[in-house]
Symmetry: C2
Subunit: 437 residues, 2 copies
């Protein structure tokens, strides 16, 4: 049996340094679990000279990937650099060389799943990606193993901590979107360029990974309707609060007779719904199984600590297989490659849900009547209306807020197109879909 | 490679029949995951003639345990009969014969962990017990694998669905304890003899199992302070509601410098705490890790469907190891037997927490002053008082409700003993501990 497990790490950023710190702090415990010492012996980073605020004298730091990939003594490779091209190259080469690979790279897994997962399936080493979704929220292993016997009917959740933090600050502290975004950046939760988060792309990456495992196939990111929280205003927060709802950003995938209905966008959640209490940078992922009913997993969705825990769980697992000379008998998806199912998604135009619609209009007589007529002509039934007219201030911009009964997305888009062309419209219509109870 | 996996099942009660139905309904999917058919070929039950409302013609049903245990063709044994002596015998014999074993028997694992876990550790087969705690809530695998890299600081939760259902009905529908218990029995949630649930014993069994895994040793049930919801009254529900709290029944184990502080009893949870929204038969288990922060797993804690999902996850895992001729490299606790830690618990008398105290007293002058004096002499500081006197009706029984600051359990018990001996006391004092935010 080997004397120790040698780990090579790509990337010593927030997540990488979190892993270094965890393995240092919990070294004795992890050795007790695994049976042998686990050591990070090599690191590859862009700038080896950078001060990372920790003693790295135990590892050789270099810029050349071959430093780790070509070293036969390295058992496990941690890919924590993010990005696509280099990360893909590292993962494929490491798997090819029989090393176990652990990655937190949700973008890569979502964009290149058709390449990475088959490679991982064919490889002799383990392939761990628990921290790619919800970091320490143990959703990957749970879907792949604990819930493997049930038929998963839907999976949905709050899977972008940055968006949830921004919405929470807008809701609880009445910040504007820009103020809340700045606060998130100040906390280190949002990047200087927050596009991936506030346009919903990060959540889409994570939902694709969850769908792959829940529905046993590889879904394309392009098939996923994706909308971010960019565009949610303080007015929307206020109206929805009055109506008894909280705005959350969620990803959702649901089995239907027509295929998988999958989408990422802001939603209105009833205030007494459990997910409405998921605040700040927390994530919560809800799984509905035919036999088990609903289940929710909740925890911090980002940060060096939680990410390191996700990576460490996969690392400990890989160590156990390496030290017993065995191969992990479970494929990354729980279902072997040859049994992966063809996947089919439902076009967004065909989905049915309830809608919150806010029309900024000029305060004229007959506007509500016109909007109602167009909605009704498009088979959209109105559940409630808030019209905040200011008496005597005709022609000033006001909001009409309409909550609808269930309607078809294509019908709603058609109606909005007609309404948005009218001269009384003072700004773009806000559309937020409503999450059923 | 084997052509199929043969399963023998002990017990065709609610849980056993749930497993039979799940394996029948999801047969094709499970075969795709595992690679070969999985069949329950034999069952052992007390009464083979009983009509179980399902076609069991595919399996041989008998009353003799040897029917399964002595059959070398049986790969996996499901122990779903519950109880102690016979179940222990079945599990040990099955492990000895190299079969994989899956059990939902929390009482046995809690009472006989020192026998069962080492036997499972030494055995060639797998040993699964995911459904023993929280049924489909994937807490066992999560603690053992996903969170294996973190230092678990505490684990706590609502782990008895029956108690939670009763408290929910008392809170939301203002039922009395007896009415709510009858409703639970009517739903099939509570047994005709509800002792294990309402005395907290079932929750204690589950907490012991969680503590074993979280803290890497085997804890004794006798070391666990255990109190049930028996004794909670509508008056307590009302006062705590006024005070902004919900009464929940929880198990809790926390690392301290003095050892593990572990206890099972009703608690007051602030209304905006996530666990306060866990209603009905749902369970929620909260884990605090040093690196990952708080994490909560939520789902149905009982019932044939969720139990079957827990069993099926373990079953699928065992199949994979059997079919690849490998041994599961992870011990039941995540830490190998030889590294199990000595365990030490903190005596209940030494714990520090806040308290809700309700004193049913005769409405006399000076009673509150006396109670306050005794509390203060015992270093218990009062945070708030509700005294619902009825003017002009002196000597009638009224409640004095006191919320304390943090105090030591031994001091509180000493004070209550002194107060309870007084002639103005009209009934036993109610004590409910308060869960910190």
């Amino acid at each position: 049996m080997k004397d120790s497990i040698n780990v090579g790490i790509f990337g010593l950023g927030n997540v990488g340094m979190g892993v270094v710190r965890l393995l240092e702090k919990n070294r004795a415990d992890i050795e007790k679990r695994v049976g042998k010492p686990v050591r990070i012996v090599k690191a590859v980073v862009a700038n080896p000279k950078k001060d990372r605020g920790a003693d790295l004298s135990g590892m050789m730091v270099d810029t050349d990937p071959g430093h780790i990939l070509d070293d036969p003594k390295i058992d496990i490779v941690l890919e924590l650099i993010g990005g696509l091209t280099l990360a893909e190259d590292i993962i494929l080469k490491a798997l090819e060389k029989g090393k176990s690979v652990i990655t937190a790279n949700k973008a890569l897994l979502a964009e290149k799943g058709r390449i990475i997962f088959p490679a991982a399936y064919d490889a002799a080493g383990c392939f761990g990606f628990e921290s790619s979704v919800g970091t320490a929220v143990p959703i990957i292993r749970t879907l792949r193993e604990s819930f493997a016997g049930d038929d998963i009917l839907s999976i949905s959740g709050i899977i972008n901590g940055t968006s949830n933090y921004i919405l929470t600050r807008m809701t609880h502290d009445r910040l504007s979107f820009d103020e809340a975004l700045k606060a998130a950046q100040g906390m280190g939760l949002a990047e200087a360029d927050p596009t991936l988060d506030i346009r919903g792309i990060d959540a889409a990456h994570k939902l694709i990974i969850l769908m792959n495992i829940a529905f046993n196939g590889v879904f394309d990111l392009s098939e996923l309707y994706t909308e971010g929280i960019f565009g949610i205003t303080a007015a929307d927060i206020n109206y929805t609060r009055q109506l008894g709802y909280t705005i959350k950003h969620m990803g959702k995938a649901k089995k239907t007779d027509q295929g998988i209905e999958a989408r990422v966008h802001p939603v209105l959640v009833k205030k007494d719904h459990l997910l409405s209490s998921v605040n700040g940078a927390f994530n919560a992922i809800s799984v509905l199984g035919e036999f088990m009913g609903p289940s929710i997993l909740y925890g911090l969705g980002a940060g060096p600590g939680p990410s390191a825990v996700g990576v460490a769980g996969d690392l400990i697992e890989a160590c156990r297989y390496i030290l017993t000379g065995q191969q992990r008998p479970i494929s990354p998806f729980s279902i072997p490659l040859e049994n992966w199912l063809p996947v089919k998604t439902v076009p967004m135009a065909e989905i049915r849900t309830e809608y919150y619609l806010r029309f900024p209009v000029l305060d004229r007589l007959g506007v509500l009547a016109f909007i109602s007529k167009v909605l009704s002509e498009n088979r959209i039934s109105v559940r409630s209306v808030i019209q905040e007219g200011k008496p005597g201030r005709e022609e000033s911009p006001v909001d009409i807020v309409i909550m609808t009964h269930e309607a078809v997305e294509a019908d709603v888009q058609k109606a909005l197109k007609e309404i948005n062309g009218q001269p009384f419209i003072a700004g773009p219509t806000q559309l937020i879909r409503i999450e059923p109870d």
